[in-house]
């Protein structure tokens, strides 16, 4: 079983600010993250969904340890476990940089605390962590297990994404000319070195899910492969047809003749650039590939319907995965036609596509009313290309932070007649607000309340 921890960056920074505050007599401060889990057959993701600061009166003066907290603070943590069906992660700050080292007292006392919390609810992730200015060491149990698993990989969800080294990263690749050419020893990525010294490492660790490998997804997968992304989850149930050839890049007449799946065509393009790429290829709707998609660091949706977008965003929010939506449509304006499109970055905890006004009851109802209408909607290669290039720009900035834009909510509108991409005017009014549709407290596997 693969286990990893995710913390929304905003929550992580809130914890750092709190823990760095001086206390009247204690040398350190302590807090708790509330956690929930997403469980799949091969992975468990532990999400931090809330942070709880300890008030000053919870601290006990003790000259022999850096910090001691009273039993009432621990009782409160246990109470949160029992009443809210959450786990608790005890956290404190050691300062400095790099991986913090637990003290002798930490190693003696905190595992006992974690064990006590596990007695309240063993099915949740309980444990302890120490933060430095830029890193974390974690001791947390796999839900249902009684012992801590140290060094669980951590992801910070926000701008930029922080993705720790994958434990299952492919190593020991047989030596070959191809490998030598494909490895970092070549000068393959020198022209994009401005993305940062870590960009190659980030790209080789990130897992990107692409749902829909037609006119949109084929551009996205191709560009990401050129950039150096090597881990993919591809989902599309469709095989290529003649009507797709006007816009699906890298698809050929032979692919149509041989009725190849769209995901196979995208995988072929990726493998021609990275022969050792890790590609999970689902010839099926994404709903049957949720265990694979759960593991992604970013999911890109190139789906045809508003309801499909809503459902995919809901899935991503539940598993704290940033979702990038790409889409276009041709609208009849009476005297002429206009190509309209959008690129949206939906970041967990931040405004969702409903908050942004892109999804609403009216468009979803209209789409349902059209159910069964014959014929495909108009699509063209160049507008897909422009939109997908913008989406790849959003993904690269999110992964590397190269622009320092700090934008974790994005809603771009494309207009085909003047080939313009502009910020949606509604976003500035909502981008600093919380999302009411997908509160962080609902992350993880659904919790049903008995009526």
């Amino acid at each position: 079983m693969h286990v990893k921890l995710k913390i929304p960056r905003e929550l992580f920074e809130k914890a750092l600010v709190d823990l760095k505050r001086p206390h009247r007599f204690a040398c350190e401060r302590v807090g708790f993250f509330s956690t929930r889990c997403s469980r799949g057959p091969s992975i468990t993701i532990v999400h931090c969904i809330d942070y709880h600061s300890l008030s000053d009166d919870h601290y006990i003066e003790d000259n022999f340890v850096g910090v001691r907290i009273g039993s009432s603070a621990i009782t409160e943590a246990m109470s949160r476990c029992a009443s809210n069906k959450v786990g608790q992660l005890h956290v404190h700050y050691h300062g400095g940089h790099g991986v913090p080292r637990p003290s002798h007292d930490d190693c003696r006392e905190l595992p006992l605390l974690a064990r006590s919390l596990r007695h309240v609810d063993a099915e949740q992730a309980q444990g302890w962590a120490i933060l430095s200015a830029d890193n974390t060491i974690l001791f947390i149990n796999e839900p249902g297990q009684s012992e801590d698993s140290p060094n669980m990989p951590l992801s910070l969800i926000g701008y930029p994404l922080t993705i720790q080294e994958r434990a299952d990263r492919r190593e020991n690749i047989p030596y070959s000319v191809l490998h030598r050419l494909a490895s970092g020893k070549s000068n393959r990525y020198t022209r994009q070195s401005f993305l940062g010294p870590d960009s190659e490492r980030i790209f080789s660790n990130a897992i990107v899910g692409i749902v829909g490998l037609g006119g949109g997804g084929s551009h996205i997968s191709q560009q990401l492969a050129h950039l150096g992304i090597v881990n993919y989850v591809l989902c599309d149930a469709d095989r290529i047809t003649f009507t797709n050839l006007n816009r699906t890049v890298n698809a050929t007449l032979f692919d149509v003749i041989f009725k190849r799946y769209k995901t196979d065509i995208a995988a072929r393009t990726i493998r021609r650039l990275h022969w050792n790429a890790s590609i999970i290829n689902h010839h099926a709707p994404w709903e049957s590939a949720t265990d694979s998609l759960m593991q992604c660091d970013i999911v890109v949706g190139c789906v045809d319907t508003f309801s499909g977008r809503r459902d995919l965003e809901a899935f991503c929010r539940r598993h704290l995965i940033p979702y990038v939506d790409v889409g276009m449509d041709v609208q009849d304006l009476g005297d002429r036609r206009e190509i309209m499109g959008q690129v949206i970055l939906s970041m967990p905890g931040r405004p969702c596509m409903r908050c942004m006004g892109f999804l609403n009851d009216q468009v979803l109802a209209e789409e349902a009313r059209r159910y069964g209408d014959a014929g495909g909607r108009p699509q063209v290669v160049w507008s897909n290309g422009v939109l997908c290039s913008a989406a790849v720009g959003v993904i690269v900035d999110l992964l590397t932070g190269w622009s320092k834009s700090k934008r974790d909510s994005i809603y771009l509108n494309f207009r085909g007649s003047d080939l313009s991409i502009t910020d949606d005017p509604r976003l500035p009014y909502i981008e600093n607000g919380d999302c009411l549709h997908y509160p962080l407290l609902q992350a993880g596997d659904p919790i049903f309340t008995t009526l």
Partner: protein
Amino acid sequence: MAFAEDEINELKQSFAHLATASEGGTEFILIPSLTLPEGCKPQKVDALFCPTPRDGYISRLFLSQKVDHQGPGKNWNADGVTILGRQWWAVSWNAIPPNAPPSSTQRLAAILARQVEAFRCT
């Protein structure tokens, strides 16, 4: 919880083990082993009841699998959609006509009964 307590109590008289959860700002009611009208195959399925408007429908009843039934249509336009971490199916035809009184003026038990009964008649 978004539902009136007396309406929930009325529902609980007919269905045991009801549970609720919310996603995307919509509140759903989980009904384990809902019994569908005779002639449906299978007759018992888990159901996810959305009593409020969704996708242009006044209310929706999602089932844990497709069923053979005697209702007015055979199409399923919610075809394996993921809601609350699980796949669900819902028929495309209106179990409750669009000109029916809005769901906010109807009791939960009455809305659910109409949704279920729609699988019976042609």
